[in-house]
Amino acid sequence: MVPISYYIILSAILFTIGAVCVLIRRNAIIIFMGIELMLNAANLAFVAFANQHQVISGQIFVFFVIAVAAAEVAVGLALIVTIFRTRKSIDVDQLNSLKG
């Protein structure tokens, strides 16, 4: 069977990709998807570890994370929509009126 470390490495890679996505994309939605990716990387890690330690709680945690992610999506999209209403754009680079 596949050694546990593979899963961890994969999840780390996913996590990094997500972070990088946050860092380099300008579209709020895509950035948000990057964040989702990070969360799911965590989920993968959870499952893997749960398997390693033979405890169920890890997998339960995954559900929590998914639920929270859903909630975040709701709020996040709502916010993005409002922004879009006023600015006709969801390019985060245009959100720079507050600085200094």
Partner: protein, 481 residues
């Protein structure tokens, strides 16, 4: 589920219920009653306060150790609900004035407080994560509450994106810690570490990630950069509430996790804490100097104060004084909360439409025209600086004591010197108020006046008669370990 489980989270349960009821009420109430939701929210909080008060002193762990109910949590619950009350008082007139008087404000506030309460009780990393999100998500919304004001929206989105981003790190940190020990309950982790079955390296990385996530919430440098923008853009009462509540909650989690649960990692984490706190105190106080907008200035000052509280965590791992460390940071949170709310109340009193009256120049001549407000603001500024006899001084006194006891003399020196720096920008406000001519305009608002005057009185009197406070704090940390 046993009865003890219920009693231990009774405040939470009640508040959640109340908030939801309030939400529905707000929706289904056809004919709006002036300020009904606000008053109901207040009632709810007062009740929660009462419950938390009665809970004070019990020390149990419920839900198979996922929840703790002890002095620590009760203390913080009282702090949170208290700040909630003040938050309502500050918001009520403001929302009307700004024409954003929407009913959902109060339920959202309550939900966020629920998150805080839960965070204070969390004894399991899962709960920590849930509570963190529960407190944050409503705040994202509240930050953008002044829509369609672009600044507010921008603040909201920034806060949301970065918050979620940081949340990601927390989750991953939790995952790694779980991987290292096979459990997410703090006690379990401690046990795992003790038995040596844990993978310390992994745990270290995990805890590091968690530290980052929480450090973001309490705005430690370099995770602070959202703070000025969000504080600036968000509606001022929300800002005030965030500055006090969210920060306190973040520290609740930090203290609980790092001071109580992970003493083994002291050797590795203490230097990190040292650097973070020094960096935060220094940068926060220094950058505040060049701010021209009072909201941004206070934002940076709140960053700096996070650094001061962080000092207490540096001594963690030294069993003898950990209780002192927790107590001093709890006490500092209290002094910080009172002073901060006072200061923000004055800011709100002066704030006009479209962010008028937020420049430092707008405070010129306040001392002559509104001596009472000016005197109050003076007291708050002195308290921020830490000049006796004010609460701020007592807080710093206790903190520095802890740090010196821990033997971190240089950190203490940095602390006092940066507080000296801070005098410089706090005094700018005073200079403007008293030594310049000007014609500021304040908005008559009984509640806000009440907050600022009572706040000022409290800051001075509680510092002179602070013994009960200290007793209370020390009792709060009594059964924590």
């Amino acid at each position: 589920m046993t009865l003890i489980d219920f009693t231990s989270i009774l405040p939470l349960i009640f508040l959640v219920g109340w908030a939801s009821v309030l939400l529905l009420l707000d929706i289904f109430l056809t004919r709006k009653v002036e300020g009904l939701t606000a008053i109901l929210a207040g009632v709810g909080l007062v009740t929660t306060l009462a419950i938390a008060g009665t809970n004070f002193g019990i020390s149990t762990s419920a839900f198979n150790g996922m929840i703790k109910a002890d002095g620590f949590s009760s203390y913080l619950q009282i702090l949170f609900t208290g700040s909630g009350l003040v938050g309502i008082a500050l918001a009520y007139g403001y929302l009307k004035r700004m024409g954003i008087d929407r009913g959902e404000y109060y339920p959202l506030l309550l939900y966020s407080i629920c998150g805080m309460i839960l965070l204070a009780q969390a004894a399991d990393l899962i709960v920590v994560f849930l509570a963190l999100e529960l407190l944050s998500i409503p705040l994202y919304v509240l930050a953008g509450f002044a829509r369609p004001d672009p600044a507010s929206e921008e603040a909201a989105l920034k806060y949301f994106l970065l918050g979620a981003f940081a949340g990601g790190f927390v989750v991953y940190g939790v995952a790694l810690s779980f991987g290292a020990t096979g459990t997410t309950s703090l006690t379990g982790i401690v046990a795992g570490v003790a038995s040596g079955s844990a993978d310390i390296g992994l745990l270290l990385v995990g805890s590091g990630l968690i530290l980052i996530g929480l450090g973001f919430k309490v705005a430690l440098v370099p995770f602070h950069m959202w703070t000025p923008d969000v504080y600036h853009g968000a509606p001022t009462p929300v800002t005030a509430f965030m500055a006090v509540g969210a920060k306190a909650a973040g520290f609740a989690a930090l203290l609980r996790i790092f001071l109580a649960a992970l003493p083994v990692l002291a050797g590795d984490l203490v230097p990190v804490f040292w650097i973070l706190s020094a960096l935060t105190m220094f940068a926060g106080n220094l950058i505040a100097i060049v701010q021209e907008n009072i909201k941004r200035m206070l934002a940076y000052s709140s960053i700096a104060h996070a650094g001061y509280i962080m000092m207490a965590m540096v001594v963690f791992g030294q069993e003898l004084i950990t209780s002192d460390a927790v107590a001093s940071s709890l006490f500092y949170l209290l002094t910080y909360a009172v002073t901060n709310f006072g200061a923000w109340s004055v800011v709100i009193a002066l704030e006009g439409a479209e962010g008028q009256g937020l420049k430092l120049e707008d405070y010129k001549g306040l001392g002559k025209k509104y001596p009472l407000f000016a005197a109050a603001m003076l007291v708050f500024m002195l308290s921020f600086i830490g000049v006796p006899p004010t609460l701020g001084f007592m807080g710093k006194f206790y903190l520095f004591r802890t740090v010196l006891e821990g033997g971190f003399v240089w950190l203490a020196v940095i602390g006092v010197l940066t507080s000296l720096l801070s005098a410089y920008y706090y005094l700018r406000v005073v200079v403007n108020m008293y030594m310049h001519e000007g014609d500021p305009e304040i908005y008559r608002d009984r509640l806000i006046q009440l907050v600022s005057v009572v706040g000022a009185a409290a800051v001075v009197l509680l510092s002179i008669f602070s013994t009960p406070l200290f007793r209370w704090v020390s009792r709060a940390v009594l059964k924590m370990f």
